[in-house]
Amino acid sequence: MIEARNLVKRYGSTVAVSDLSFSVRPGMVTGFLGPNGAGKTTTMRMILGLDAPTQGSVTVGGRSYRDLPAPMREVGALLDAKALHGGRRARDHLLCLAHSNGIPRSRVEEVLRIAGLEGVARRRAKGLSLGMGQRLGIASALLGDPAVLIFDEPVNGLDPDGIHWVRTLMRALAAEGRTVLVSSHLMSEMALTADHLLVIGKGRLIADTSVDEFVRSSSRQSVHVRSPQAAELAARCRQAGAAVRAGSTSRAAAAPVAGPDAGTSPDVIEITGMDSAEVGRLAAAHGIVLFELIPVKASLEEAFMELTRDSVEYQAAGATR
């Protein structure tokens, strides 16, 4: 159980985290989601006692991290897999950490096995591939067999096999009743791994919700229509209470890759508030010819981008979405 109360972190005049309150519960994977620069890492650093909050407090199991008697036995963390001495062998790196919390040497061998690192245990850390380095970081988080686990972007740089391994591991850890907090800037990844979501943007909490609920509430459906009588259909739909806007031709699933002049066309409209069957009936009732009638489901990624649009720290100039 991790509890944050009114966390604030300022670096000079920059506000990294602003009045953040949340709790992370055991037995599930909690996804910590936000665009780059949203304050995810800063928040995790405060949980782990690396950074002192400017205001507010955060506790793990009811205690502030610095007061934990054997921190690695209670919290396992991976912030940055490259945060190690490159000249040290993988096994020695784990051994240094194990010693510091009185964890027996046998556990080092165990986590090497769990992470599939037995073959490279004698290799120096700088000689490990990105994926192996990430596995070493995860192995170190598991050393103390902790009830709380915190991972910052654990799948960054992993191949599909590694991503699958991490995902399965997170789910297994949560299934054992542990508290698992995983940050990511990829909604699609979280949809597959997490049960619960904490979404932050510009250091503020935007959403604290279950993944199912987030998917349901954000699965905004619309209907893509191409018709030579698009203007007439638009008017009929508006009368029926639906919202209509100019659609983009590249929207259609079958449309070729959008060329320079793909974009809006007077023939294409996008209708929200009616499903495709209703639009079809309405068109038939008024003798409107339809060339295309396609139900469109907003992807989770789009829903997430919509949610965090106002809080994206670095937006490409002139980006249209």
């Binding site: 006692g49 921190p71 945060a83 001495h85 062998r89 051994l95 009185g102 299934a175």
Partner: protein, 276 residues
């Protein structure tokens, strides 16, 4: 991976869970020190150069003794001559001590270390203690060996010293102690400055550059600097002959220790307060 493999810990293992103690951090820091190659090489260089350079200087000085002036003969100090190679040990110790902690800052390892041991003072204390002990052992081995090798080369060509002569045994032990104080100072400097290059430059300034600058000052300025500059004062413990404008051996070492304690206290405070 299935869940079953993650938790091999039975109830017994859980019961064995206990608070982490300072001894655990000591073990951890010892493992850190011995598991990187730079430690090994720095210590080898210290011992070999400390003894080798002392031997070369001893042999050269002994052969020149017969031709030297009366005043040169009067100030002849065979103990100091045989320990001349220790300067390199000083430098190697300062560099290794600085790197012992500042390399953690440059690699990011410090964050991993402080997550494992959030009581940060323990990390600094354990590092200082481990490095002090290692430096003391290496320093004593180097100084005693350099002494015996040097005296063997001097004897027959010039008056030589024996361990039983007044002040010699104290100077030998003192060479190791002064080096140990320097070891703690360099770990503290590395903690304070965090950047390896900055901390090494700082140590070189304190050890060599500032004392050299003092030599260019007028006497009224130079003498107190020579007398009280921490590394100069601490060095008195390793010398047999007492020269003008220097402190007595133990008070001199006391000044050095006081200086180290002040720097250490600042490093401790900053380590505790700064975001890592």
């Amino acid at each position: 991976m299935t869940g079953a493999t993650i938790t091999p810990a039975g109830p017994d293992d859980r019961a064995a869970s206990r608070a982490a103690a300072f001894g655990d951090v000591l073990r951890s820091e010892w493992t850190k020190l011995r598991s990187v190659r730079s430690t090994f090489w720095a210590l080898i260089v210290t011992v070999v150069l400390g003894i080798g350079l002392g031997a070369v200087i001893s042999a050269a000085a002994a052969h020149g003794y017969a031709k030297s002036s009366v005043s040169g003969k009067l100030s002849w100090d065979p103990t100091a001559v045989s320990l001349d190679g220790m300067g390199i040990a000083t430098l190697a110790t300062a560099v290794l001590g600085v790197l012992y902690i500042s390399s953690e800052y440059s690699s990011g390892m410090i964050r991993t270390s402080l997550i494992a041991v959030p009581k940060r003072g323990r990390v600094l204390a354990a590092k200082s203690l481990i490095f002090a002990v290692v430096t003391f052992v290496v320093g004593e081995v180097t100084s005693f060996t350099a002494f015996f090798v040097g005296q063997a080369l001097i004897s027959g060509h010039a008056p030589h010293a024996a361990l039983g002569d007044p002040g010699v045994a104290r100077a030998m032990a003192g060479a190791g102690l002064a080096l140990t104080a320097l070891a703690v100072l360099s770990v503290a400097a590395g903690t304070l400055l965090r950047h390896p290059a900055a901390a090494i430059a700082g140590m070189i300034a304190v050890l060599f550059v500032l004392p050299a600058i003092a030599q260019a000052l007028p006497d009224s300025w130079r003498n107190p600097v020579t007398e009280f500059w921490p590394t100069q004062a601490g060095g008195q413990l390793a010398s047999v002959h007492h020269s003008a404008h220097t402190l007595q051996p133990w008070p001199g070492f006391g000044v050095m220790c006081l200086f180290v304690a002040i720097v250490y206290a600042i490093a401790w405070t900053l380590l505790d307060r700064r975001d890592a």
